[in-house]
């Protein structure tokens, strides 16, 4: 099963409410994915910095870690801890070094996502609890995607939770299962892509990142995935400026969208959308199979 949601705000005045809107959407998907949950929020950019969302075993001292990292690169590294995660803001020019230092000095710390705007949070647990743990209610941003997981293709672990991020400001949530993920993973490894898990969705995320590194835009990368990825899927993809939706040609996995003048929303079921502002007046429709949908703010 699994539940996926996405929210893209056209009306900037709604941005302070992004977190509460997404939280309600995720909570409505508790039953579709009671194992784990996660979400990516695209918030204000801080020019010249990369936000690294990190995850550590319970009890980790992120402030000490940031101080240590700061001493190594001779900069102050602001850090914000939220439960098992922390968002560290690293000056862009020191970012590759910061990655290397983290891998070397604290290998138990996982990088969940990296971006100029994107922050990613995911954990094992009931979606409403996961949302509360990360204080999603108060998060602010222009768009967000989320996922509630009922595991099929890999274990119930935080590593198995979505979203998967394999590139700067790029992430993916998935409802379904891919049948050729092992073969595609092998090919992508040959192309230099790295994988943290055995999860099929991570392969889809890496595939899109790889295609975009080859010069595709998101729409053409998604188009091409119709040819190269086999299985059942509804994907919701987040990028720095927007979000996209794609369903496989058979379209077994459910999807519904709503659009008003103020926002575009995606949900696995209409239940996820019922608390959005003025939903009664929204244009509500089921996205077509094999058709790429994409909304973005002009960058």
């Amino acid at each position: 099963m699994c539940g996926i949601v996405g929210l893209f705000l056209k009306d900037r005045s709604l941005e302070p409410e992004l977190g509460s809107m997404l939280l309600h959407m995720l909570e409505a998907m508790n039953e579709r994915g009671p194992d784990s949950a996660g979400f990516a929020v695209y918030s204000q950019e801080k020019p010249g910095f990369i936000k690294m969302t990190l995850r550590a075993p319970a009890g980790a001292d992120f402030a000490a870690l940031a101080a240590d990292l700061g001493a190594q690169i001779d900069e102050v590294v602001p850090v914000r801890s939220i439960a098992t995660h922390a968002v560290m803001e690293v000056p862009a020019e020191h970012w590759p070094r910061a990655r290397a230092l983290l891998a070397q000095r604290v290998p138990e710390i996982a990088i969940v996502g990296e971006g100029t705007r994107m922050e990613v949070f995911k954990e094992v647990g009931r979606p409403s609890d996961v949302g509360a743990r990360f204080a999603l209610l108060h998060m602010v941003g222009s768009h967000a995607i989320g996922h509630t997981r009922m595991a099929t293709e890999s274990a119930v672990t935080t590593d198995g939770a979505h979203p998967y991020s394999t590139g700067i400001d790029q992430c993916l949530v998935h409802n379904g299962s891919l049948s050729n993920h092992n073969a595609v993973r092998r090919e992508l490894r040959r192309e230099g892509m790295e994988f943290a898990t055995d999860n099929d969705t991570e392969v889809a995320a890496a595939y899109l990142t790889h295609r975009m590194r080859q010069g595709d835009d998101l729409a053409s990368a998604l188009e091409r995935s119709l040819r190269d990825l086999d299985g059942f899927y509804t994907f919701v993809v987040g990028t720095k400026d927007g979000f996209g939706v794609l369903r496989d040609p058979i379209a077994c996995k459910p999807a519904v969208m709503a659009e008003t003048e103020r926002y575009v929303a995606f949900g696995s079921e209409y239940r996820t959308l019922v608390d959005l502002p003025n939903i009664g007046a929204a244009h509500v429709w089921e996205p077509l199979p094999s058709k790429v949908y994409f909304w973005s703010h002009a960058s």
């Binding site: 079921e269 019922v274 199979p289």
Partner: protein, 245 residues
Amino acid sequence: MSASVAALDAELDASPPVLLDLEQQSLRAINAALHSIGEDATQRRWRIVNPRGRHAVAVGLNAPVTVEILGHVGYYCAGMNQRARVIIHGNAGVGVAENMMSGLVHVQGDASQAAGATGCGGMLVIDGNASARCGISMKGIDIVVKGSVGHMSAFMAQAGTFTVLGNAGESLGDSIYEAHLYVRGAVTSFGADCVHKKMTDFHKEELLSKLKAAGIAGQVDIGEFKRYGSARQLYHFHVDNAWSY
């Protein structure tokens, strides 16, 4: 189907409904209330408000009553319906009116996948579009879709009629048995063993009767419809193929 939708609407205007609020009562309590309606009940009109996309609203009804639902519903709304008339003032999720036995289910918006799946009788009217697999494995239900239907519609359709005023998506009528398909618009492609068939007087009459029952006779020209059905090459045993078994 005896009463047309128009006649039903007139009847509805005449009697006040009992209000059932899904924000105030549980789905289970509301469905139980509808299941307990006796044969001699005088209250024949019910109205459900605040469905908020919930699943299994008004399933398993078996009484000659009218249930209106104000808003969008989730999966399997009005499934297994017998005799009741269920009118959804909104969109319906996956499997609306699945396995219906008799009665009428009328979706005034769009329907998601597998609308009317395995239906044995009664009529399903969808004012908007239906997505993939509409009428899959239908076994006697009459389905009228005023918009278009998605891919794999009428898959393995065994009996009943399937009328589409708009277009039909890929693989219409794949592995079809004896259901009658009437499509006014374009068909993207046909599934295995589904072919164009001659529209005889019998079929014109049948189509007209279904349009009448759906309350739209006279609004569309039956001459614009084409009939599709089984070539009967797939499900009949053919002695020349004996070596294949």
